[in-house]
């Protein structure tokens, strides 16, 4: 072999131009056909499947959710006090954390790596810019732009469906079907529709799926809580979910009604939305304004980054949709290889509105950070239980109408802390 390797002469032959051109055509055709391949079921709805090279399928075969929970458990173990400063400094060195900006700075006060990972920052460490849209998190901008044909570009040449990401239906797509899971008695709505976006002339009602209960014929009433029983909102929500009702997961406010209304009005002014008691059904009439477009931006948080997320704008969160899914890594390496990554993974779609119309924010989990926290949502539990029984595209929904009856949602100001990602 050594002799053959060293002494065999290399002879170069010219490849016929036609053969080269043919090869290029075949490769290009194959690339395009893979990119456009949309598997649909008998109802014409897109089926999201694991697509990618062989190593993606190998990773997909791993019990990622279980691994994530084991990882979370290990990182919740209390570390000896003497080990904490050394351990966290090593971690900070490896992943590039700035220990000068954390609060508290005394590293012995973080009992575990999980606590350190979910660290707070000092007041004023992140000044909020004077712009309508600011970054919700520390990280790296993966991609941004205008949404065309209802597809968001994950990486160049690879897209995923906006409908699948948010669980929305568009005009022309079949009526969403309410799926009752006998084991859980939980109303979950299947919104795996794929249809061409109809310009910008779609109603917010369709975009947010507010017509789901009536269109499906299944009763999923909103759990309304009065000011007197808001304290029991979490319990009400838990009970309501079991009965297939939509949960009001708002955090109750400890204020008199007059104060609450005054605060709502003040907040409405700040958010740039007109306060009105009729906001509950505003999505049945408000349409996307002519002259508007739908934009997107994707921000990736590396392991060393500050892992809490803040409000990127002044807006009102009206509902959240929790999609139980896989927990693939969302690193740029994986994003380049696994199609529909952000649609396959577990995520929480927070839907609402800002002064320019529709607004949504979707924290997407990953293997190391499968748990997503939302500060104003007591009922949300992520990365628990099995993924079985939760087909891709189904979600559980909660509304936040009790947080502010006037604004019909949870009002947020720009830069306000909303929640974060926890290890495991």
């Amino acid at each position: 072999l050594v002799d053959a390797w060293q002494n065999t002469p290399t002879k170069w032959y010219p490849l016929p131009i036609a053969a080269g051109a043919l090869l290029l055509v075949v490769l290009q055709y194959r690339k395009k056909s893979i990119a456009r391949e949309v598997v649909v079921n008998e109802d014409g709805q897109e089926i999201i499947r694991l697509k990618g090279p062989w190593h993606v399928h190998v990773i997909g075969a791993l019990p990622l959710r279980n691994l994530s929970r084991v990882w979370g458990y290990l990182n919740s173990l209390e570390l000896p006090v003497w080990l904490r400063p050394v351990g966290f400094r090593v971690y900070a060195r490896i992943f590039g954390c700035d220990l000068e900006e954390i609060d508290p700075q005394d590293l012995t006060q973080y009992a575990s790596l999980g606590e350190f990972f979910y660290r707070k920052l000092k007041d004023g460490a992140r000044p909020i810019a004077d712009a309508v849209l600011v970054s919700p998190a520390d990280g790296r901008v993966l991609h941004f732009g205008v949404i065309k044909n209802g597809r968001i570009e994950q990486v160049k040449g690879s897209t995923y469906s906006l409908d699948a990401l948010l669980g929305v239906a568009r005009p022309g797509s079949p009526a969403p079907a309410a799926v009752e899971f006998p084991n859980q008695k939980m109303a979950e709505v299947n919104h795996r529709h794929f249809a061409e976006i109809n310009g910008i002339e779609y109603s917010l009602q369709d975009l947010l799926g507010t017509s789901t209960p009536s269109s499906s014929g299944t009763s999923t009433p909103t759990v309304e809580t009065s000011s007197s029983d808001r304290d029991g909102a979490a319990q009400t929500g838990a009970s309501a979910k079991k009965h297939g009702e939509r949960v009001d997961a708002s955090v109750p406010r400890d204020q008199s009604t007059t104060e609450a209304v005054a605060q709502d009005v003040s907040m409405a002014t700040e958010v740039g939305l007109r306060p009105t008691a009729a906001r509950r059904d505003s999505f049945t009439s408000v349409r996307t304004k002519p002259g508007n477009e739908t934009f997107f931006v994707v921000i990736y948080l590396a392991p060393g980054d500050y892992h809490r997320f803040h409000s990127p704008a002044a807006w009102v969160v009206e509902r959240r949709r929790h999609f139980v899914g896989d927990l693939f890594s969302v690193s740029p390496w994986m994003a380049k290889r696994l199609e529909n990554l952000f649609v396959l993974n577990e995520r929480v779609a927070l839907l609402g509105r800002w002064k320019h119309g529709f607004f949504s924010m979707v924290p997407v989990g990953a293997t190391n950070v499968g748990s997503i926290k939302v500060n104003f949502d007591q009922a949300l539990r992520t990365n628990v239980g099995s993924r079985r029984g939760h087909p891709v595209g189904t979600f559980t929904e909660a509304v936040y109408s009790a947080a502010s009856p006037i604004l019909n949602g949870q009002p947020l100001i720009k830069g306000e802390e909303m929640g974060g990602f926890c290890l495991g």
Binding site: V132, V141, F296, V298, F309, P312, V330, G357, S360
Partner: protein, 32 residues
Amino acid sequence: STVVLVFEAPHNFDFFVSSGQKVKVGQKLGDV
């Protein structure tokens, strides 16, 4: 982990970032 923002804005909305750029909480992403 990843955060995806999807929103409606006027045509003249401009992003003030580039792909691959590092950002921090509160940093300007875009404006009308």
